[in-house]
Amino acid sequence: MTAHRPSCREMLGSLSEYLDGELEAELCAAIESHLSECENCRIVVDTLRKTITLYHQHAEEDPQLPAEVRLRLFKRLNLEDFLSHSR
């Protein structure tokens, strides 16, 4: 054992950056070493990754700007003239 092996709870705070690929190599290695021996943390990492993916996927399906909201915006800004021929 060379480096300090983080405990399950100590690792939590680094997982978000780990998944974004922003963690330094040494910490990544420590996390991966822990993961190779800890089923629980593998589940935590997998579900954290999936949480992020789910939000990305659902965000893509969020409603577009409703046409009437855009119309009211252009009216409020006195820009109706520009709305008509841009549509």
Partner: protein, 202 residues
């Protein structure tokens, strides 16, 4: 969507109050701003108010836009501040946007260990799950919510998010981490209850 490439916005024209150019700016960004506000506030009427206030403020302050950040970052910043101001008003001035201290309760909360990754796609992508995702976002403190909205829902970078919120990139990462972990906890509890998956919480 047209195929022709529109010329880039002229900051010069915007600064001197060119109305056609301002209309182009609005048309380019109104959908992004609306979704941002809706995601922070969770309510279409409030989102529309923020949308209108954002462009009214932009129109007023464009002559002094210094170009140090991009126009989109600048607009996002106005919109985020408007949304947070509205939240603060609704909560009676009680919300804090400072770096939240991780409180002991949260730190000691058992870590939910529910393996819901392999649930079929139709369970993860249905309207019911979408509602749960939205409710979870709404339950986050405003300081965490804005960060996860900008990063994971609007798809902005850590750097852009830090410029919009005027906080360090380290703070963005810390808040994003706390927000994502909290969301994962809530989703794990939900999937555990909804589908009877085993919970190895420790």
């Amino acid at each position: 969507m047209t195929n022709k490439v529109d010329p880039p916005l002229s900051i010069e024209a915007l600064r001197r109050g060119d109305r056609a150019e301002f209309a182009r700016l609005v048309e380019l960004y109104d959908a992004y701003i609306y979704r941002l506000a809706l995601r922070i506030l969770g309510n279409p009427q409030d989102a529309e108010d923020v949308l209108q206030e954002t462009f009214i403020k932009a129109l007023k302050h464009l002559p002094s836009f210094d170009g140090r950040s991009s126009l989109s970052t600048w607009l996002y910043r106005i919109a985020t501040n408007e949304a947070l101001m509205l939240l603060r008003k609704e909560k009676g001035g009680m919300i804090s946007l400072d770096e939240p201290n991780p409180n002991d309760d949260e730190e000691q909360e058992p870590i939910q260990i529910v393996d819901w990754c392999c649930l079929p796609e139709e369970m993860l992508m249905n309207a019911e799950t979408k509602k749960v995702l939205d409710q979870a976002i709404a339950q986050l403190s405003p300081a965490l919510r804005v960060v996860v909205v900008l990063r994971d829902l609007q798809g902005l970078s850590t750097r852009e998010t830090s410029q919009i919120l005027k906080i360090s990139e380290e703070s963005v990462k810390t808040r994003l981490s706390r927000a994502r972990l909290q969301l994962r906890q809530w989703l794990s509890e939900y999937f555990h209850q909804q589908y009877g998956l085993e919970n190895l919480a420790s």
